[in-house]
Symmetry: C2
Subunit: 344 residues, 2 copies
């Protein structure tokens, strides 16, 4: 908008009060929907607000009231569709509560994360939802406790002292391993990438436990690149293991999609020559051919949980730390087949 005079001296509550012939306090009560004020007065004040084009000034209100109706959200990545969905879940419940989200991207760097947390504190957020960067230490949680600033961890569980919303990664791995085992697979690889953090560790541990409980060798953990094009190129890593796997479980669907492309390039038929299981069950799992069997983590729901956890803590700061861990479900589609065929 091209408007020279930025500050158009907006109408203040006092202006409204004067126009409605009430005191400023009364006008304030009307705004906050207090039952103390009569219907006639209320509508008189509301009319005045309308006429003056009055807009509430949160900044001033918060200064006095110590509540900003604002929650900070810090994610390690914004371009990843998974985090976009998480964010959508958070935003929807924060919005429904009449609050607004202050968004920032830590790029999975602890020092940036520190800067951001401080910035959010300066902006007076009522609480913070953070998917902590890999390598986050206890200091983060201590500092926020010190500030008395409520925090909920999402997806990555670093501290038992703070609320947590996430998903049962280990359970998801178990579902994948169980399913593949039921198809006769024993030589199952786990394709991973990215920085090491609790959600990573839980998946690896879950894989190991599940494999061991079936009596399978759990050592085929292969690290692949982060970009999808390079993952496809790195597909041969799967066949450079001590034993050739008949199935591979992926750390996430990005890897699964990348490997699917690489397998296609090598003429290896997914579901027949090699079985593939993704993790997260993003929308593209349904779009790819053969359709990708994947462990659903439902990021939108996790985001909603995280936001609810925070709202509840705001309402009652004395609550004990809680954790909300969703169950995964295995979404079986077409990317897996019996191992028997392969051993022929």
């Amino acid at each position: 908008m091209v408007s020279g005079d930025r500050k158009k001296s907006r109408a203040t509550l006092l202006d409204v009060a004067r126009r409605a012939n009430v005191s400023r306090a009364t006008a304030s009560l009307v705004i906050r929907n207090s039952p103390l004020v009569g219907a006639a007065t209320r509508s008189r004040v509301e009319a005045a607000m309308e006429e003056l084009g009055y807009v509430y000034n949160m900044g001033a209100a918060r200064l006095r009231a110590e509540r900003s109706q604002t929650v900070g959200v810090i994610v390690p990545n914004l371009t990843n569709p998974f985090f976009a969905e998480l964010l959508a879940g958070i935003e929807s419940v924060v919005d429904a509560a009449g609050m607004v989200v202050l968004l920032a991207n830590s790029a999975d760097q602890v020092d940036r994360q520190n800067t951001l947390v401080r910035r959010m504190r300066e902006h007076g957020v009522d609480g913070i939802i953070v998917c902590p960067a890999a390598g986050t230490g206890v200091e983060l949680f201590e500092r926020l406790a010190d500030w008395g600033l409520p925090l909920v961890q999402v997806l990555r569980h670093f501290s038992a002292q703070a609320d947590y919303a996430g998903v049962d990664y280990a359970g998801g791995m178990r579902q994948a391993v169980d399913y593949l085992s039921s198809l006769g697979h024993e030589r199952i690889a786990f394709a991973v990438h990215g920085p090491v953090h609790p959600a990573y560790q839980e998946r690896v541990d879950g894989f190991r436990d599940a494999m061991c409980s079936h009596g399978h060798d759990a050592s085929m953990i292969v690290r692949v690149p982060s970009k999808i094009a390079q993952i496809a190129e790195a597909t041969q890593l799967l066949f450079e293991q001590k034993a050739e796997p008949t199935a591979v479980i992926c750390f996430n669907d990005v890897i699964a999609l990348g490997l699917a492309a690489g397998l296609y390039d090598r003429g290896i038929a997914i579901g027949r020559d090699l079985s593939l299981v993704g993790f997260d069950d993003v929308t593209d799992a349904e779009a790819v051919r053969p359709r990708l069997t994947s462990v659903s983590t439902m990021p939108v729901a996790i985001g909603e949980n995280a936001a609810r956890l925070l709202l509840e803590r705001l309402a009652d700061p004395a609550l004990q730390p809680r954790r909300l861990v969703n169950r995964t479900t295995l979404h079986v589609r077409q990317s897996c087949g019996p191992a028997a065929v392969l051993t022929l």
Copy 2:
């Protein structure tokens, strides 16, 4: 964090000043890096801030200074990876300017958008970046001009009175049509979906113009569903046109991916039996097989442009309305082939 006493009476600037033996005004100058204060005094104040664990209170500052270091961002969709990338671009430059983004999702609904704009105004944002909901009217722009609140439109150009950052959709369509024409295609369909807005209209018009300039029939515009699974199922719509197309250009890559799946299901070979061009060039275009030829719109760059436009307007509100329209580039991969083969 489990901390009963939320408000831990944080240290104030006055506390810092007292501890450093200076006046509050001086402390304020130190914070804002004024050159007026001497090095010795400065470090004394800084030490005091450190010792007291002082945190700047933006809310109080903004009340006085009329600047919140905050920009509102309203998008019509958060789960779509395209908008996630746009958002990433915006966030990065806003962050680099030491400001923070207030995020909200209009769900492409004008009334929600109105609510959000007002909410952001209440929160005292310095400006707003919005991808206006389909059906947005001039009122939005008038209201913001009235408020003296800077606004930049992104991706969808509704008003000539406000700044705009976007991409040359029509040019992108032309690149796609030219390319397909060079391969001998004449019966080219355009698969679209979603609400009608300027970015939609520009694409349709661009398609028509480009087709006409080649002397082709531009009437094969087919609407498909919005969800990827249903798009795949709707693939037959392509073959219910007056003439069977030999190529199809897609409104975006979501459609392209969906149709690719549907074509696969029908045993139609992409690039040989039918050529396919996407729009946006999302990362999955590279992961799919055959790799998807797509028009790159580079959403991250558009987001950066939008944020820069806003920052520049903030610095100089007297600027004339500007538009920053990026050029697209056609990323040729494997999903198109010569039309000659098909006519055999």
